[in-house]
Symmetry: C2
Subunit: 207 residues, 2 copies
Amino acid sequence: MTTAATEKRRVILDAAVRVFARQGFHTCRVSDIADEAGVAYGLVYHYFSSKEQILDTLFLERWDVMLQAIAEADASGRPPRQKLYAIASFIIDSYRHDPELMKVIIVEVTRAANTFGLTHLEKIRDAYAGIAAIVARAQDDGEFRSEITPEFAAQAFYGAVEQVLTGWIFDSVTVGQPDLDRAKSMIVETICSGLERHARTAPDESD
Amino acid sequence: MTTAATEKRRVILDAAVRVFARQGFHTCRVSDIADEAGVAYGLVYHYFSSKEQILDTLFLERWDVMLQAIAEADASGRPPRQKLYAIASFIIDSYRHDPELMKVIIVEVTRAANTFGLTHLEKIRDAYAGIAAIVARAQDDGEFRSEITPEFAAQAFYGAVEQVLTGWIFDSVTVGQPDLDRAKSMIVETICSGLERHARTAPDESD
DNA sequence: TGCAACACTGACTGACCAGTCAATCGGGAG
DNA sequence: CTCCCGATTGACTGGTCAGTCAGTGTTGCA
Protein backbone atom coordinates (compact mmCIF):
# COMPACT_ATOMS: atom_id res chain seq x y z
CA MET A 1 0.00 0.00 0.00
CA THR A 2 2.38 2.66 1.17
CA THR A 3 5.09 1.57 -1.21
CA ALA A 4 6.90 3.20 -4.08
CA ALA A 5 3.52 3.69 -5.68
CA THR A 6 1.96 5.91 -3.09
CA GLU A 7 5.24 7.67 -2.47
CA LYS A 8 5.13 9.24 -5.91
CA ARG A 9 2.21 11.21 -4.57
CA ARG A 10 4.46 12.55 -1.85
CA VAL A 11 7.18 13.35 -4.37
CA ILE A 12 4.71 15.39 -6.37
CA LEU A 13 3.45 17.21 -3.28
CA ASP A 14 6.98 18.08 -2.19
CA ALA A 15 7.88 19.26 -5.66
CA ALA A 16 4.73 21.38 -5.69
CA VAL A 17 5.81 23.10 -2.48
CA ARG A 18 9.10 24.12 -4.06
CA VAL A 19 7.47 25.27 -7.28
CA PHE A 20 4.65 27.18 -5.57
CA ALA A 21 7.15 28.84 -3.25
CA ARG A 22 9.43 29.81 -6.11
CA GLN A 23 6.96 30.88 -8.77
CA GLY A 24 3.64 31.29 -7.03
CA PHE A 25 0.51 29.24 -7.57
CA HIS A 26 -0.98 31.36 -10.32
CA THR A 27 2.24 31.85 -12.22
CA CYS A 28 3.51 28.29 -12.31
CA ARG A 29 2.48 25.60 -14.75
CA VAL A 30 1.48 22.09 -13.87
CA SER A 31 4.32 20.97 -16.12
CA ASP A 32 6.72 22.83 -13.80
CA ILE A 33 5.56 20.65 -10.94
CA ALA A 34 5.90 17.49 -13.02
CA ASP A 35 9.41 18.51 -14.11
CA GLU A 36 10.45 19.38 -10.56
CA ALA A 37 9.14 16.02 -9.36
CA GLY A 38 10.80 14.21 -12.24
CA VAL A 39 7.59 12.57 -13.40
CA ALA A 40 5.50 12.76 -16.52
CA TYR A 41 2.92 15.47 -16.85
CA GLY A 42 0.01 13.05 -16.85
CA LEU A 43 1.01 11.43 -13.58
CA VAL A 44 0.13 14.56 -11.70
CA TYR A 45 -3.45 14.02 -12.83
CA HIS A 46 -3.28 10.40 -11.80
CA TYR A 47 -2.89 11.48 -8.20
CA PHE A 48 -4.66 14.82 -8.17
CA SER A 49 -7.75 15.98 -9.96
CA SER A 50 -6.50 19.54 -10.50
CA LYS A 51 -3.71 21.95 -9.82
CA GLU A 52 -5.84 23.48 -7.10
CA GLN A 53 -6.33 20.20 -5.34
CA ILE A 54 -2.57 19.96 -4.84
CA LEU A 55 -2.51 23.28 -3.01
CA ASP A 56 -5.62 22.17 -1.16
CA THR A 57 -3.88 19.06 0.08
CA LEU A 58 -0.74 20.89 1.17
CA PHE A 59 -2.75 23.40 3.14
CA LEU A 60 -5.02 20.92 4.87
CA GLU A 61 -2.17 18.58 5.82
CA ARG A 62 -0.39 21.32 7.68
CA TRP A 63 -3.31 23.33 9.00
CA ASP A 64 -4.86 20.33 10.70
CA VAL A 65 -1.63 19.80 12.59
CA MET A 66 -1.75 23.41 13.67
CA LEU A 67 -5.35 23.20 14.84
CA GLN A 68 -4.28 20.22 16.89
CA ALA A 69 -1.38 22.18 18.39
CA ILE A 70 -3.77 24.96 19.35
CA ALA A 71 -6.19 22.52 20.92
CA GLU A 72 -3.38 20.92 22.91
CA ALA A 73 -2.15 24.29 24.13
CA ASP A 74 -5.65 25.11 25.26
CA ALA A 75 -6.08 21.76 27.00
CA SER A 76 -2.82 22.04 28.95
CA GLY A 77 -3.48 23.59 32.30
CA ARG A 78 -0.64 26.05 31.90
CA PRO A 79 -0.98 29.81 32.33
CA PRO A 80 -2.28 31.69 29.27
CA ARG A 81 1.07 33.24 28.48
CA GLN A 82 2.58 29.78 28.13
CA LYS A 83 -0.29 28.58 26.02
CA LEU A 84 0.20 31.42 23.57
CA TYR A 85 3.93 30.85 23.66
CA ALA A 86 3.36 27.23 22.66
CA ILE A 87 1.29 28.34 19.67
CA ALA A 88 3.76 30.97 18.53
CA SER A 89 6.47 28.36 18.95
CA PHE A 90 4.63 25.84 16.86
CA ILE A 91 4.10 28.23 13.98
CA ILE A 92 7.63 29.59 14.03
CA ASP A 93 9.12 26.11 14.31
CA SER A 94 7.00 25.08 11.34
CA TYR A 95 8.69 27.86 9.46
CA ARG A 96 12.15 26.74 10.52
CA HIS A 97 11.38 23.17 9.55
CA ASP A 98 9.95 23.97 6.12
CA PRO A 99 10.04 27.65 5.18
CA GLU A 100 8.86 26.95 1.65
CA LEU A 101 5.73 25.19 2.83
CA MET A 102 4.92 27.99 5.25
CA LYS A 103 5.47 30.52 2.51
CA VAL A 104 3.00 28.69 0.30
CA ILE A 105 0.41 28.37 3.03
CA ILE A 106 0.64 32.00 4.07
CA VAL A 107 1.04 33.63 0.69
CA GLU A 108 -1.13 31.39 -1.47
CA VAL A 109 -3.86 30.34 0.94
CA THR A 110 -4.17 32.28 4.19
CA ARG A 111 -3.65 35.68 2.65
CA ALA A 112 -4.89 34.96 -0.84
CA ALA A 113 -8.26 34.34 0.68
CA ASN A 114 -9.91 35.95 -2.29
CA THR A 115 -9.39 33.37 -4.97
CA PHE A 116 -8.51 30.32 -3.03
CA GLY A 117 -8.79 30.74 0.68
CA LEU A 118 -12.53 31.21 0.61
CA THR A 119 -12.73 27.44 0.42
CA HIS A 120 -10.72 27.20 3.59
CA LEU A 121 -12.16 30.17 5.40
CA GLU A 122 -13.85 27.84 7.84
CA LYS A 123 -10.59 26.11 8.74
CA ILE A 124 -8.77 29.41 9.07
CA ARG A 125 -11.48 30.72 11.37
CA ASP A 126 -11.16 27.59 13.48
CA ALA A 127 -7.63 28.65 14.32
CA TYR A 128 -8.73 32.12 15.41
CA ALA A 129 -11.52 30.58 17.42
CA GLY A 130 -9.06 28.30 19.21
CA ILE A 131 -6.84 31.19 20.16
CA ALA A 132 -9.85 33.28 21.17
CA ALA A 133 -10.96 30.46 23.46
CA ILE A 134 -7.64 30.58 25.29
CA VAL A 135 -7.99 34.32 25.76
CA ALA A 136 -11.58 34.02 26.89
CA ARG A 137 -10.65 31.51 29.55
CA ALA A 138 -7.78 33.70 30.73
CA GLN A 139 -10.27 36.54 31.08
CA ASP A 140 -12.65 34.38 33.09
CA ASP A 141 -9.80 33.43 35.36
CA GLY A 142 -8.99 37.08 35.82
CA GLU A 143 -5.54 36.79 34.28
CA PHE A 144 -6.37 38.85 31.21
CA ARG A 145 -8.47 41.98 31.38
CA SER A 146 -11.81 42.02 29.63
CA GLU A 147 -11.68 45.30 27.71
CA ILE A 148 -10.27 43.52 24.69
CA THR A 149 -12.59 40.97 23.10
CA PRO A 150 -11.12 37.48 22.72
CA GLU A 151 -11.82 37.55 18.97
CA PHE A 152 -9.84 40.72 18.57
CA ALA A 153 -7.03 39.44 20.74
CA ALA A 154 -6.79 36.34 18.57
CA GLN A 155 -6.58 38.45 15.43
CA ALA A 156 -3.88 40.65 16.91
CA PHE A 157 -1.88 37.67 18.08
CA TYR A 158 -2.14 35.71 14.87
CA GLY A 159 -1.64 38.85 12.79
CA ALA A 160 1.58 39.62 14.61
CA VAL A 161 2.93 36.12 14.08
CA GLU A 162 1.99 36.07 10.42
CA GLN A 163 3.47 39.49 9.82
CA VAL A 164 6.78 38.43 11.31
CA LEU A 165 6.84 35.33 9.12
CA THR A 166 5.93 37.42 6.09
CA GLY A 167 8.85 39.68 6.83
CA TRP A 168 11.24 36.73 6.83
CA ILE A 169 9.65 35.29 3.72
CA PHE A 170 10.17 38.37 1.61
CA ASP A 171 13.23 40.00 3.11
CA SER A 172 15.01 36.86 1.94
CA VAL A 173 17.45 37.07 4.80
CA THR A 174 18.35 33.80 6.40
CA VAL A 175 17.14 33.73 9.96
CA GLY A 176 18.95 31.70 12.58
CA GLN A 177 17.71 29.96 15.69
CA PRO A 178 18.37 33.04 17.89
CA ASP A 179 16.18 35.16 15.60
CA LEU A 180 13.39 32.63 15.82
CA ASP A 181 13.59 32.44 19.59
CA ARG A 182 13.72 36.19 19.95
CA ALA A 183 10.65 36.54 17.75
CA LYS A 184 8.70 34.06 19.86
CA SER A 185 9.52 35.97 23.04
CA MET A 186 8.76 39.36 21.60
CA ILE A 187 5.42 38.31 20.16
CA VAL A 188 4.25 36.75 23.39
CA GLU A 189 5.73 39.53 25.51
CA THR A 190 4.09 42.29 23.49
CA ILE A 191 0.67 40.78 23.05
CA CYS A 192 0.36 39.23 26.49
CA SER A 193 1.53 42.35 28.30
CA GLY A 194 -1.09 44.14 26.28
CA LEU A 195 -3.76 41.70 27.36
CA GLU A 196 -2.82 41.16 31.00
CA ARG A 197 -4.31 43.21 33.77
CA HIS A 198 -1.94 46.00 34.67
CA ALA A 199 -2.43 45.62 38.39
CA ARG A 200 1.03 44.33 39.08
CA THR A 201 3.51 47.03 39.85
CA ALA A 202 6.38 47.52 37.53
CA PRO A 203 9.62 45.67 38.23
CA ASP A 204 11.44 48.96 38.00
CA GLU A 205 10.33 52.49 37.67
CA SER A 206 13.36 54.63 38.13
CA ASP A 207 15.33 55.42 35.03
CA MET B 1 -6.80 69.13 -19.69
CA THR B 2 -8.53 67.49 -16.77
CA THR B 3 -11.70 67.28 -18.78
CA ALA B 4 -13.88 64.46 -20.00
CA ALA B 5 -10.83 63.06 -21.71
CA THR B 6 -8.63 62.50 -18.71
CA GLU B 7 -11.58 61.53 -16.58
CA LYS B 8 -12.04 58.36 -18.58
CA ARG B 9 -8.81 57.26 -17.00
CA ARG B 10 -10.41 57.72 -13.60
CA VAL B 11 -13.52 55.86 -14.71
CA ILE B 12 -11.36 52.91 -15.74
CA LEU B 13 -9.44 52.96 -12.46
CA ASP B 14 -12.63 53.01 -10.42
CA ALA B 15 -14.10 50.20 -12.45
CA ALA B 16 -10.91 48.22 -11.95
CA VAL B 17 -11.25 48.55 -8.18
CA ARG B 18 -14.71 47.04 -8.31
CA VAL B 19 -13.67 44.24 -10.64
CA PHE B 20 -10.47 43.39 -8.76
CA ALA B 21 -12.38 43.38 -5.48
CA ARG B 22 -15.12 41.15 -6.89
CA GLN B 23 -13.13 38.70 -8.97
CA GLY B 24 -9.51 39.10 -7.96
CA PHE B 25 -6.68 40.36 -10.10
CA HIS B 26 -5.64 37.02 -11.53
CA THR B 27 -9.12 35.77 -12.21
CA CYS B 28 -10.58 38.79 -13.93
CA ARG B 29 -10.20 39.69 -17.58
CA VAL B 30 -9.26 43.07 -18.94
CA SER B 31 -12.54 42.97 -20.82
CA ASP B 32 -14.34 42.77 -17.47
CA ILE B 33 -12.78 46.07 -16.50
CA ALA B 34 -13.70 47.63 -19.82
CA ASP B 35 -17.28 46.39 -19.51
CA GLU B 36 -17.57 47.62 -15.92
CA ALA B 37 -16.24 51.02 -17.00
CA GLY B 38 -18.55 51.10 -20.00
CA VAL B 39 -15.71 51.68 -22.47
CA ALA B 40 -14.25 49.73 -25.33
CA TYR B 41 -11.63 47.11 -24.64
CA GLY B 42 -8.91 48.96 -26.47
CA LEU B 43 -9.36 52.16 -24.50
CA VAL B 44 -7.95 50.49 -21.43
CA TYR B 45 -4.68 50.15 -23.32
CA HIS B 46 -4.86 53.75 -24.40
CA TYR B 47 -4.51 54.82 -20.78
CA PHE B 48 -2.57 51.92 -19.30
CA SER B 49 0.18 49.80 -20.73
CA SER B 50 -0.94 46.60 -19.05
CA LYS B 51 -3.41 45.06 -16.65
CA GLU B 52 -0.70 45.11 -14.01
CA GLN B 53 -0.08 48.79 -14.41
CA ILE B 54 -3.67 49.47 -13.41
CA LEU B 55 -3.19 47.67 -10.12
CA ASP B 56 0.14 49.43 -9.79
CA THR B 57 -1.50 52.80 -10.11
CA LEU B 58 -4.25 52.00 -7.62
CA PHE B 59 -1.76 50.83 -5.04
CA LEU B 60 0.66 53.72 -5.38
CA GLU B 61 -2.07 56.36 -5.31
CA ARG B 62 -3.31 55.14 -1.96
CA TRP B 63 -0.08 53.99 -0.38
CA ASP B 64 1.61 57.33 -0.88
CA VAL B 65 -1.21 58.99 1.02
CA MET B 66 -0.68 56.51 3.83
CA LEU B 67 3.06 57.10 3.97
CA GLN B 68 2.25 60.78 4.29
CA ALA B 69 -0.19 60.09 7.13
CA ILE B 70 2.50 58.12 8.95
CA ALA B 71 5.03 60.89 8.46
CA GLU B 72 2.57 63.44 9.79
CA ALA B 73 1.80 61.33 12.83
CA ASP B 74 5.51 61.04 13.51
CA ALA B 75 6.06 64.76 13.08
CA SER B 76 3.26 65.75 15.46
CA GLY B 77 4.63 66.22 18.92
CA ARG B 78 1.93 64.07 20.47
CA PRO B 79 2.57 61.10 22.76
CA PRO B 80 3.34 57.80 20.99
CA ARG B 81 -0.01 56.27 21.83
CA GLN B 82 -1.75 59.08 19.98
CA LYS B 83 0.59 58.81 17.04
CA LEU B 84 -0.20 55.15 16.63
CA TYR B 85 -3.88 55.88 17.13
CA ALA B 86 -3.71 58.36 14.26
CA ILE B 87 -2.20 55.72 11.99
CA ALA B 88 -4.69 53.02 12.93
CA SER B 89 -7.41 55.59 12.41
CA PHE B 90 -6.16 56.50 8.99
CA ILE B 91 -6.07 52.91 7.79
CA ILE B 92 -9.43 52.00 9.24
CA ASP B 93 -11.03 55.17 7.89
CA SER B 94 -9.59 54.32 4.50
CA TYR B 95 -11.46 51.07 4.76
CA ARG B 96 -14.69 52.79 5.70
CA HIS B 97 -14.33 55.24 2.86
CA ASP B 98 -13.57 52.65 0.19
CA PRO B 99 -13.64 49.04 1.38
CA GLU B 100 -13.20 47.68 -2.12
CA LEU B 101 -10.01 49.63 -2.70
CA MET B 102 -8.59 48.51 0.64
CA LYS B 103 -9.51 44.94 -0.16
CA VAL B 104 -7.63 45.16 -3.45
CA ILE B 105 -4.57 46.74 -1.87
CA ILE B 106 -4.39 44.26 0.98
CA VAL B 107 -5.34 41.10 -0.85
CA GLU B 108 -3.77 41.72 -4.24
CA VAL B 109 -0.68 43.73 -3.36
CA THR B 110 0.38 43.84 0.30
CA ARG B 111 -0.25 40.17 0.93
CA ALA B 112 0.26 38.84 -2.57
CA ALA B 113 3.81 40.00 -2.29
CA ASN B 114 4.98 36.96 -4.17
CA THR B 115 3.79 37.72 -7.64
CA PHE B 116 3.12 41.38 -7.52
CA GLY B 117 4.14 42.99 -4.29
CA LEU B 118 7.82 42.36 -4.84
CA THR B 119 7.75 45.43 -7.05
CA HIS B 120 6.38 47.44 -4.18
CA LEU B 121 8.31 45.82 -1.38
CA GLU B 122 10.30 49.00 -0.94
CA LYS B 123 7.19 51.11 -0.49
CA ILE B 124 5.66 48.62 1.89
CA ARG B 125 8.83 48.56 3.95
CA ASP B 126 8.75 52.36 4.09
CA ALA B 127 5.51 52.11 6.03
CA TYR B 128 7.00 49.70 8.57
CA ALA B 129 10.05 51.92 8.86
CA GLY B 130 7.84 54.94 9.59
CA ILE B 131 6.02 53.13 12.35
CA ALA B 132 9.28 51.74 13.72
CA ALA B 133 10.66 55.28 13.88
CA ILE B 134 7.77 56.34 16.09
CA VAL B 135 8.41 53.41 18.42
CA ALA B 136 12.15 54.07 18.49
CA ARG B 137 11.60 57.65 19.51
CA ALA B 138 9.15 56.60 22.21
CA GLN B 139 11.80 54.25 23.56
CA ASP B 140 14.41 57.00 23.59
CA ASP B 141 11.99 59.19 25.49
CA GLY B 142 11.48 56.39 28.00
CA GLU B 143 7.79 56.01 27.22
CA PHE B 144 8.13 52.58 25.64
CA ARG B 145 10.38 49.91 27.06
CA SER B 146 13.34 48.76 25.00
CA GLU B 147 13.02 44.97 25.19
CA ILE B 148 10.95 44.95 22.02
CA THR B 149 12.76 46.11 18.90
CA PRO B 150 11.05 48.94 17.00
CA GLU B 151 11.03 46.83 13.83
CA PHE B 152 9.19 44.05 15.57
CA ALA B 153 6.78 46.46 17.22
CA ALA B 154 5.97 47.93 13.81
CA GLN B 155 5.25 44.48 12.40
CA ALA B 156 3.03 43.57 15.32
CA PHE B 157 1.12 46.83 15.06
CA TYR B 158 0.65 46.75 11.32
CA GLY B 159 -0.06 43.02 11.39
CA ALA B 160 -2.83 43.51 13.92
CA VAL B 161 -4.45 46.27 11.86
CA GLU B 162 -4.25 44.30 8.65
CA GLN B 163 -5.62 41.17 10.27
CA VAL B 164 -8.64 43.06 11.57
CA LEU B 165 -9.30 44.49 8.12
CA THR B 166 -8.87 41.08 6.56
CA GLY B 167 -11.46 39.73 8.96
CA TRP B 168 -13.97 42.35 7.84
CA ILE B 169 -13.11 41.82 4.20
CA PHE B 170 -13.85 38.12 4.22
CA ASP B 171 -16.47 37.75 6.91
CA SER B 172 -18.63 39.84 4.61
CA VAL B 173 -20.44 41.35 7.54
CA THR B 174 -21.18 45.02 7.28
CA VAL B 175 -19.30 46.90 9.93
CA GLY B 176 -20.68 50.12 11.36
CA GLN B 177 -18.94 53.17 12.75
CA PRO B 178 -19.00 51.79 16.32
CA ASP B 179 -17.19 48.64 15.18
CA LEU B 180 -14.56 50.73 13.46
CA ASP B 181 -14.03 52.92 16.49
CA ARG B 182 -13.88 49.97 18.83
CA ALA B 183 -11.28 48.32 16.62
CA LYS B 184 -9.10 51.43 16.65
CA SER B 185 -9.17 51.56 20.43
CA MET B 186 -8.50 47.88 20.93
CA ILE B 187 -5.58 47.80 18.53
CA VAL B 188 -3.90 50.78 20.13
CA GLU B 189 -4.78 49.65 23.64
CA THR B 190 -3.41 46.15 23.15
CA ILE B 191 -0.23 47.00 21.30
CA CYS B 192 0.65 50.13 23.25
CA SER B 193 0.03 48.53 26.63
CA GLY B 194 2.32 45.79 25.44
CA LEU B 195 4.99 48.28 24.50
CA GLU B 196 4.71 50.73 27.37
CA ARG B 197 6.70 50.41 30.54
CA HIS B 198 4.48 48.83 33.14
CA ALA B 199 5.04 51.45 35.77
CA ARG B 200 1.52 52.73 36.05
CA THR B 201 -0.98 50.84 38.16
CA ALA B 202 -3.90 52.83 36.90
CA PRO B 203 -6.76 50.62 35.78
CA ASP B 204 -8.31 53.48 33.82
CA GLU B 205 -7.23 56.72 32.31
CA SER B 206 -9.47 57.31 29.35
CA ASP B 207 -12.55 55.55 28.15
C1' DT C 1 3.24 -18.21 -18.18
C1' DG C 2 -0.58 -15.28 -18.80
C1' DC C 3 -3.36 -11.64 -17.66
C1' DA C 4 -5.45 -8.17 -14.96
C1' DA C 5 -4.92 -3.94 -12.66
C1' DC C 6 -2.62 -0.21 -11.86
C1' DA C 7 1.48 3.12 -12.56
C1' DC C 8 3.09 5.91 -15.79
C1' DT C 9 3.92 8.53 -20.25
C1' DG C 10 3.62 12.76 -23.15
C1' DA C 11 1.44 14.48 -27.38
C1' DC C 12 -2.61 16.77 -28.22
C1' DT C 13 -6.78 19.90 -27.85
C1' DG C 14 -9.91 23.26 -26.76
C1' DA C 15 -10.52 27.29 -24.30
C1' DC C 16 -9.03 31.39 -22.78
C1' DC C 17 -7.19 36.01 -22.87
C1' DA C 18 -3.52 39.86 -22.90
C1' DG C 19 -2.22 42.90 -25.91
C1' DT C 20 -2.32 44.87 -31.03
C1' DC C 21 -3.93 47.60 -34.68
C1' DA C 22 -6.43 49.45 -38.45
C1' DA C 23 -10.40 51.90 -38.75
C1' DT C 24 -13.82 55.49 -37.12
C1' DC C 25 -15.31 59.38 -34.38
C1' DG C 26 -15.37 64.14 -32.72
C1' DG C 27 -14.06 68.63 -31.76
C1' DG C 28 -11.11 72.56 -32.05
C1' DA C 29 -8.03 75.55 -34.95
C1' DG C 30 -7.49 77.84 -39.19
C1' DC D 1 -16.01 73.77 -44.24
C1' DT D 2 -11.71 71.19 -43.84
C1' DC D 3 -7.93 69.25 -41.74
C1' DC D 4 -5.68 67.17 -37.99
C1' DC D 5 -4.95 64.66 -33.97
C1' DG D 6 -6.14 62.54 -29.99
C1' DA D 7 -10.02 59.64 -28.20
C1' DT D 8 -12.37 55.61 -29.01
C1' DT D 9 -13.75 51.22 -31.02
C1' DG D 10 -13.70 46.05 -31.18
C1' DA D 11 -12.21 42.24 -34.20
C1' DC D 12 -8.27 39.63 -34.39
C1' DT D 13 -3.83 37.15 -33.24
C1' DG D 14 -0.36 34.64 -31.00
C1' DG D 15 0.80 32.29 -27.23
C1' DT D 16 -0.19 29.87 -23.14
C1' DC D 17 -1.74 26.02 -20.45
C1' DA D 18 -5.08 22.98 -17.76
C1' DG D 19 -6.78 18.87 -18.39
C1' DT D 20 -7.56 14.51 -21.57
C1' DC D 21 -6.58 10.16 -23.42
C1' DA D 22 -4.78 6.47 -25.92
C1' DG D 23 -1.20 4.02 -25.34
C1' DT D 24 3.14 1.64 -22.95
C1' DG D 25 5.57 -0.22 -18.87
C1' DT D 26 5.32 -2.91 -14.49
C1' DT D 27 3.81 -5.65 -10.78
C1' DG D 28 1.85 -9.39 -8.59
C1' DC D 29 -1.28 -13.02 -8.43
C1' DA D 30 -3.37 -17.43 -10.24
